[in-house]
C-alpha cells in the first residue's frame, strides 16, 4: 500500500497559486526526491504534506487514512483530531535550518518528544536516543548544546530527533542547502545509510547527483506543476528536455 498519496493538491498564498495540481505517491521503503528550480513550490509541497500549511484543494492520504480531502461542496476539510494524531505520528520532517531547540542539550533535543509526546519512559527514550546519536556519529556530543555544534552536526542531530519518533516516512526540506560541501557530504552520507535500510523518505534537494544515486523516484517540479516523475533514468533522459536543461545548468 502507498504510505502517502497526494492527489490534485492546490495551494495559494492570496492570489499567488504556488501549487496548481500536484499528484504523486510514495510507497513503503521508497526514496523520492523532489527537484526543480527555486520557487517551483517544492518546499511548499512538503509544508502542505506535513500539515504546516493548509491546502486549498485536493487530498492528502497517509496509509489509507484521509488527512485532508474535499467535501461535497469542494471545500477542503481536515480529518478529526484522532485521525490527525495518528497521521502526524507517522511522519517526521528535517528542516533546512535545523530548528533545534537551543535551550536543550543534544540528548534532550532527541528525547524530549518521545518522553512528553509519545509518553515513552525516560530511560527507554534515552537509551534509544543514545543509540541513534551513536549511529549518527554524535556520541561525544550528547551533552553539548546546539550552538556548540557545526552545521553538519546540527543537521545530524535534527535527523536523530526525527528518527527518535519512529516515523514511517521522513521528509527532508533541502537538508544540505545551508551547509558547505564537506558538511553536505557528511549529511548526505547519513541519508544514504537510511536509504540502504529502506527508510521511506521524501527529499527536496538541489543535490542532483545525490538524488540520482539514492532515489527510487524523482519528481521534477516547475511553476506549481509536476513536469516529470519516474525512475531517475527515465526523468534524467532525452524524454524530458526541460529536466536535462535544468540539470545541465547545474552540473555544467
Amino acid at each position: 500500500m502507498d504510505l502517502l498519496e497526494i492527489n490534485h493538491l492546490k495551494k495559494n498564498f492570496g492570489d499567488l497559486e504556488v501549487l496548481k495540481d500536484i499528484s504523486f505517491r510514495v510507497e513503503k521503503g521508497e526514496v523520492v526526491s523532489i527537484i526543480g528550480p527555486s520557487g517551483s513550490g517544492k518546499s511548499t509541497l512538503l509544508r502542505c504534506a506535513t500539515m504546516l500549511e493548509r491546502i486549498d484543494g485536493g487530498e492528502i492520504i497517509y496509509n489509507g487514512e484521509k488527512a485532508a480531502f474535499c467535501n461535497e461542496d469542494g471545500k477542503v476539510v481536515y480529518a478529526d483530531k484522532k485521525t490527525m494524531r495518528s497521521v502526524k505520528d507517522s511522519f517526521g520532517l528535517v528542516f533546512q535550518n535545523f530548528n533545534l531547540f537551543p535551550h536543550m542539550s543534544v540528548l534532550q533535543n532527541v528525547c524530549d518528544a518521545p518522553v512528553h509526546v509519545q509518553k515513552r519512559s525516560k530511560s527507554e527514550a534515552e537509551e534509544t536516543g543514545r543509540a541513534l546519536l551513536k549511529r549518527l556519529g554524535l556520541s561525544d556530543r550528547a551533552d553539548a548544546y546546539p550552538d556548540q555544534l557545526s552545521g553538519g552536526q546540527k543537521q545530524r542531530v535534527s535527523i536523530a530527533r526525527a528518527l527518535a519518533m519512529n516515523p514511517h516516512i521522513l521528509f527532508f526540506d533541502e537538508p544540505t542547502s545551508s551547509l558547505d560541501p564537506e558538511l553536505t557530504a557528511e549529511v548526505l552520507k547519513v541519508i544514504r545509510s537510511l536509504a540502504e535500510e529502506h527508510m521511506t523518505m521524501v527529499i527536496v534537494t538541489h543535490e542532483m547527483q545525490f538524488a540520482k544515486q539514492v532515489s527510487d523516484k524523482i519528481v521534477f517540479m516547475e511553476n506549481g506543476f509536476i513536469l516529470a516523475q519516474g525512475t531517475p533514468d527515465r526523468v534524467f533522459s532525452e524524454e524530458n528536455p526541460r529536466v536535462m536543461a535544468f540539470v545541465g545548468k547545474l552540473t555544467g
Binding site: 504546516l52 502526524k88 517526521g92 528542516f95 535550518n97 535551550h103 518528544a113 512528553h116 509526546v117 548544546y145
Partner: protein, 216 residues
C-alpha cells in the same frame, strides 16, 4: 522622638515597601503573561481589549491609578472603604499597572522566538500548551531578563507612590519623621534603602542571566 523609635518606624516602612514589591511581582508577572496572550489573540475583540488596557495603564500616572482603585469603590458604587482596603488597593493598583508593562515585554519576547521553533514542535506532535511551556517560554525568559530587570528596578522606586493613599511604606515614614524632627537623616536613610534594595535586585537578576547563558 528617640532614635530608636525613628529606626523602628523606618524599619516598618521598609517592610511595607518590600511587601508591596514582592506582592506586585507575584501578581503582575503572571497577569502580564495573560495580557500578552490576549494582545496576541486572533480574536479582534480580545486583542483590542488588551490593547486598550495597555494603553490606559501606560498612558496615565500610576499615582492616579492608585487613587482610582482606592477611592473608586466609594465614588462609583457607594461602598464603604475599610481601612484594611488601603494596602489591598495598593497591591491591585501596582499589579494591574505593571502587568501592562510586563505584557509588552512578554509579547516582544514571544515574537522574537523564530517561528521554526513552533513548527518543529508541531511536527514532533507537541500540543500548543506543551509547545509554549517546553519550547517557547524558556527561550522567552532568557530574552526578556534585561528589560524585566529594568521594570523591576523601577518598581522598587515606584513603591514610594503608595504614600498617595497613605500606606505607610518607607518613603511615607521618612517624610513624616523628617517633618516632625526637622532633619534630613530619614531621607538619607531612605535613599540608602532604595539604593541597596536595587543593588540586590540587579545582582540577583544578573545571576539569573548568567545561569541562562549556557546557550545562545
Amino acid at each position: 522622638m528617640t532614635v530608636q523609635t525613628m529606626i523602628t518606624q523606618l524599619v516598618f516602612g521598609m517592610i511595607t515597601s518590600i511587601e508591596i514589591f514582592l506582592l506586585t511581582l507575584i501578581f503582575s508577572l503572571p497577569l502580564g503573561l495573560l495580557v500578552a496572550f490576549a494582545r496576541r489573540s486572533r480574536n479582534a475583540l480580545v486583542s483590542g481589549a488588551a490593547r486598550v488596557y495597555i494603553s490606559i495603564m501606560r498612558g496615565t500616572p500610576l499615582m492616579l491609578q492608585l487613587m482610582v482603585v482606592y477611592f473608586g469603590p466609594y465614588y462609583l458604587f457607594g461602598m464603604r472603604i475599610a481601612s484594611s482596603y488601603r494596602f489591598i488597593a495598593v497591591i491591585i493598583g501596582f499589579s494591574i499597572n505593571y502587568a501592562a508593562y510586563f505584557a509588552e515585554i512578554y509579547r516582544a519576547g514571544i515574537e522574537a522566538v523564530p517561528i521554526g521553533q513552533s513548527e518543529a514542535a508541531k511536527i514532533l506532535g507537541y500540543t500548543r500548551v506543551q509547545t509554549f511551556v517546553r519550547i517557547v517560554f524558556p527561550q522567552v525568559v532568557k530574552r526578556i531578563l534585561p528589560p524585566v530587570t529594568n521594570e523591576i528596578i523601577t518598581l522598587v522606586k515606584d513603591t514610594s507612590l503608595a504614600f498617595v493613599i497613605a500606606v505607610a511604606e518607607m518613603f511615607t515614614q521618612a517624610k513624616a519623621i523628617a517633618a516632625a524632627q526637622t532633619t534630613m537623616v530619614p531621607f538619607i536613610a531612605a535613599g540608602i534603602f532604595y539604593y541597596v534594595f536595587n543593588a540586590v535586585v540587579a545582582f540577583l537578576m544578573e545571576m539569573a542571566e548568567k545561569k541562562l547563558s549556557y546557550y545562545e
